[in-house]
């Protein structure tokens, strides 16, 4: 892996920034260079949110991207707007619990992850972002599960054991 450019998008409250930040944090722990750039504005629950994450073996110049090795869309407007960003043969992750449409492109690898349903099955739909994160890690290996679990230990330090268990289960739920 030389440089991986990633883009995560959804509506506010789905935890898309959390997916990106976990990958950035884990990659840093693996000794990589990373940038994490969130969209910002008059944000609100239900509004749009996205972030750009770059992971690289060498120092990163531009933290902005116009094409990506991985695009993850958690809602329909994000699919319509950002499907075009995926480089040919690279990855598109679609939250198929929320998005009933299929991707229009056939020159990319699309993974449909029913993240909300899986999370609901685990007891809390809010963990849908962690299901998606697990799917991304499993399919692309951009970071290791070990690093992500290490990040989760830090992120959820002091939280109830049930919260930690839910998120860990969600991380490994997709296959």
């Amino acid at each position: 892996m030389a440089t991986q450019k990633m883009f995560f998008s959804g509506f506010g409250g789905q935890g898309v920034l959390m997916i990106g930040r976990n990958i950035a944090y884990a990659a840093m722990l693996e000794g990589k260079e990373v940038t994490f750039l969130p969209s910002y504005g008059p944000e609100m629950r239900g509004g749009t949110a996205n972030c750009t994450v770059i992971v690289s073996d060498k120092s990163i110049s531009s933290p902005l991207i116009y094409e990506a090795d991985l695009v993850c869309v958690m809602n329909l407007p994000s699919l319509i707007k950002f499907e075009r960003m995926v480089k040919p043969k690279k990855f598109l992750f679609v939250n198929s619990s929320i998005i009933s449409q299929s991707a229009t492109r056939s020159d990319i690898q699309t993974a449909y992850v029913n993240a909300n349903e899986i999370a609901k099955g685990l007891g809390n739909e809010k963990a849908a972002n962690m299901v998606m994160l697990g799917a991304i890690v499993k399919k692309t290996g951009v970071v290791s599960f070990d690093s992500i679990e290490h990040v989760m230990e830090k992120t959820f330090a002091g939280k109830k054991q049930s919260v930690i268990d839910l998120n860990r289960n969600a991380l490994h739920a997709w296959d």
Binding site: A24, M28, T35, L37, G41, S61, S62, P63, L64
Partner: protein
């Protein structure tokens, strides 16, 4: 060396300032630097400092003026229109020769503008929006680590020069997260030490001598002498505070001049052009005032065009043209209003411009 941590720009500014000796922070919330004010409200009292949320930017800068006069290491931060409101105070503080660190996490303008990143405060910070003859050294970071290093050094630099030091970041650096290494905290200066280290400060009546801090000079002769004295200092600063980076300019046919966030994007553009067999280079001013004119003497005679790339309508281009001094054509690639061009856009525009000179 301490471990790498993932930090957001706005929080890194605060952490670096505290570690660099900041003991007083006065602020008023404004996007895109709100996380900094929030961070300082949480951290300053825990770390032996004082935090004040002022009622306005005008109040912030004048409270800071008072703190600086008393010898405290003080930090103010805001974003573009907020920094505009501080200009009167900055002029007074320069005249009174007081140290202060100011940070502008800039956004789109003019007026209240927008909240997305911008570099349209170049003239505001390098020319000074306040009245009278004065200068403020301005440094522009391109990464979060560089922001940390600048803020860490800024307080001792301000003390040394007895002048405000301005850091010009932008919304992207404020909001972005990158891995950083934090420097060791400096030992705070005690009040007793302030009286010794800063004999000019209004540090109490017990020390014997009387200090006077003022910017009012009614006699034209006095004022002229004072301004000349300030400018001896600025001439020295022009020699000592110049800072810049260059990349591949030795044989470049196209040389970009760009600072901060935009310079990061331009670095990628240079790689893209290099892949096409086009020799491209970058001058990245780190000090915006003093502007690194000396970097331009290193341009090679084969250079065909110099391109100023900035997030405004070409404010830095005035300085670039003065530095190039007619030796090469100077062109502009810009976006404004809060839009940041992608590397692809700059690459395409640069190729078009270069086509006119090849």
């Amino acid at each position: 060396m301490s471990e790498r941590v993932l930090m957001k720009g706005n929080e890194a500014f605060g952490e670096a300032a505290i570690r660099g000796g900041c003991r007083y922070y006065v602020g008023y919330p404004i996007t895109p630097q709100n996380e900094l004010t929030e961070f300082m409200s949480r951290e300053m009292s825990k770390r032996g400092g004082k935090f004040v949320q002022a009622e306005s930017e005008l109040a912030s800068i004048n409270m800071a003026y008072g703190i600086a006069a008393a010898g405290g290491n003080v930090f103010v931060s805001s974003a573009s229109p907020g920094i505009a409101l501080m200009q009167e105070g900055l002029s007074f503080i320069c005249s009174a020769e007081l140290p202060l660190v100011a940070l502008n996490v800039s956004r789109g303008g003019p007026g209240i503008g927008g909240i997305q990143p911008g570099q349209a405060d170049y003239n505001q910070v390098t020319r000074g929006g306040g009245n009278g003859d004065y200068h403020i050294p301005v440094f522009a970071p391109a990464s979060i680590q560089e922001s940390i290093d600048m803020l860490y050094d800024a307080f001792s630099l301000a003390d040394e020069w007895r002048n405000p030091i301005m850091i010009l970041a932008d919304g992207m650096i404020g909001q972005m997260m990158e891995p950083v290494t934090l420097p060791e905290p400096k030992i705070p200066v005690s009040e007793a030490e302030i009286a010794i280290r800063k004999p000019w400060a209004l540090s109490g009546t017990k020390k014997g001598n009387r200090s006077v801090v003022k910017s009012l000079r009614m006699q034209p002769n006095d004022l002229e002498k004072h301004v000349e004295k300030l400018f001896e200092k600025y001439r020295q600063a022009e020699k000592e505070l110049v800072k810049y980076d260059t990349d591949r300019i030795e044989d470049a046919e196209v040389v970009f001049v760009s600072f901060g966030t935009t310079a990061r994007i331009v670095s990628e553009v240079i790689d893209m052009l290099t892949e096409d067999g086009i020799k491209a280079g970058l001058i990245r001013p780190i000090s915006l005032w003093p502007f690194p004119e000396e970097a331009f003497s290193k341009l090679n005679p084969k250079t065909k065009v110099v391109i100023s790339a900035e997030l405004n309508m070409g404010q830095m281009m005035t300085d670039v043209k003065a530095a190039v001094c007619g030796r090469f054509p100077v062109r502009l690639i810009n976006r404004t209003g809060g839009i940041i061009p992608t590397s692809l856009e700059i690459y395409e525009r640069a190729k078009k411009i270069l086509g006119e000179y090849r």
